[in-house]
Symmetry: C2
Subunit: 235 residues, 2 copies
C-alpha cells in the first residue's frame, strides 16, 4: 500500500513529554506540538527551568492558550515529563544512557521516542560516534526493557522548529521501530505538525544510519547555508 | 552560498566507466548517462557480457546513437571501463575489495565513485554490514591510494533508472568526498541526469550512514510499494 495518513491513529488527545525540553531540539519540538494543539510536558534536569521554558512557550504565537481545566504547556523535571503518553528523548548524547537508566521505572509502559544523534565534532566538522548498542535508540531500548522504544525526529532543524514565521516544516520524519502500533502513534504525531509526514523507515536495528545522517545534513547546512531536511520521493 | 549548479564544471565531454555495468544499478546508471549524452564504458567480469550490455543499451530509447568516430556506449571487461575519465563502482559488496585491489593500477589518477551499499538481508529485511574501514567508500580509498575516491549514487532506484518512460529521476545525489575538485565533477555528472541534483554531503568519513540509509529506503519501498529516493529540503 502507498502512504495513507488516514490509516494512522487519532493522537490529538495524547500528551507529549520531552526529556531535555529546554534544549534547542526539545524546545522546538515542544513548540510545534503545542502549536498543533497537543498537551505538552517540558522536562528538564531543573524543575524550575522546565517550568520556565513551558511558561515561555505558552506565550509564543500560535500556541492554544489555557485548556479549561489546566495549562496547555507545563513543565517540571524530567520525571514530570515521563507522566505524558509519549515521551521524546531530546537530551545531548553525553548523559543519554545515564538519564534513561534513572528514569526506567517512570518510562515503563510508555512510548519512548529517541531523537538523539551520537555525533562528535572536530575541525573537519561532524562525524558519527560509535555506540556499543549500535545506536542511541538501541541503547534506549536496552536500558528501557519495559518501554516501547521508537526513534524519530532526528533531522528536524531546531532553528526552523522554533521560528514562529515558519508555517510548515518541509520534511519527512523517518520513524524506526519494531512495535508497529507504537510506530503508527509516532507517525501520527509527526503528521500533527504542519508539513511533516511520519514514514515507517524500518526496524530499530536500522536507526544508526538515520541518526548518523544528521552529520551529513550538518555538512550540507554549512556548505549551502541551509536548514536541510529530508523528503522521501515516490511515497 | 546556496546550491548553484552553474558553479560546477562542464563535464559533458567526460567518459563515464562503470565497474559492474551489467548489474541492475550499473546498467541503470549507464543508461541515464548515455541518455544524457555522456560517453559510457560498460565494464564486466566478462568482456563479452560487457560488450553485449553496451550493445543493448545503445539501442534503448533516448540514447544518442553513434558518434562520428566511434560508439557512444561501448563495453568490455572491468579494466576496459577503467579507461574512462570517471569510474563508477557498482559491483556487489561481496568482492568489492578484491576487484578494486586488482584494478588499482588501472584506476590510478582517476576519479572513482563508489556507490556500493554493504548490506545484509535476513527474514527481517535489510541491515547494515560492518566494514573494517568504516564504509565501502573508505575501503575503496584505502585500496586505491592513487585514485581520487568519492561516494555517490547510493539511493538511486535501479528500476526507475532503466525505465525509458521515467523522464526525470526525482531525487538528490549525496556526494561524499574530501577532494573538492573531484566532488564537484561528480556533482556535475549527477546534474547531467534529468531531475537529479548532486549535493556535497560531507567528507568520506561520513559515507557509512549514506550507504546504510539504503537499508531504510528498501524498508520504505517494501512498506509503501515505492521506489523511494531522497530530496534535501531548504537547499
Amino acid at each position: 500500500m502507498s502512504f495513507d495518513p488516514t490509516t494512522l491513529p487519532d493522537v490529538s488527545g495524547l500528551t507529549v513529554g520531552i526529556l531535555g525540553g529546554t534544549g534547542p531540539q526539545g524546545r522546538g519540538l515542544a513548540y510545534r506540538f503545542a502549536r498543533a494543539g497537543q498537551k505538552v510536558r517540558i522536562g528538564s534536569r531543573s524543575s524550575e527551568r522546565g517550568a520556565q521554558a513551558a511558561a515561555e512557550l505558552a506565550k509564543m504565537p500560535g500556541v492554544v492558550s489555557g485548556l479549561v481545566n489546566g495549562e496547555h504547556v507545563t513543565g517540571g523535571d524530567n520525571a514530570y515529563a515521563c507522566g505524558a503518553d509519549v515521551v521524546i528523548v531530546a537530551v545531548p548524547w553525553e548523559g543519554h544512557g545515564e538519564l534513561l537508566s534513572s528514569l526506567a521505572e517512570h518510562l515503563a509502559g510508555k512510548i519512548v521516542v529517541d531523537c538523539v544523534n551520537p555525533l562528535g565534532f572536530d575541525k573537519q566538522g561532524p562525524y558519527v560516534l560509535p555506540v556499543p548498542e549500535g545506536s542511541a535508540a538501541e541503547q534506549a531500548a536496552a536500558l528501557l526493557p519495559d518501554s516501547r522504544v521508537c526513534a524519530a525526529f532526528h533531522h528536524v532543524s531546531a532553528v526552523l522548529l522554533i521560528a514562529p514565521e515558519v508555517a510548515a516544516m518541509d520534511l519527512d520524519v523517518l520513524v524506526l521501530g519494531d512495535d508497529r502500533e507504537a510506530v503508527a502513534v509516532v507517525q501520527a504525531l509527526a503528521g500533527r505538525i504542519d508539513g511533516m509526514r511520519g514514514l515507517h523507515a524500518g526496524r530499530l536495528r536500522n536507526a544508526s544510519q538515520v541518526e548518523g545522517m544528521t552529520a551529513n545534513l550538518i555538512a550540507i547546512n554549512k556548505r549551502y547555508k541551509a536548514h536541510a531536511g529530508v523528503r522521501i520521493t515516490d511515497v
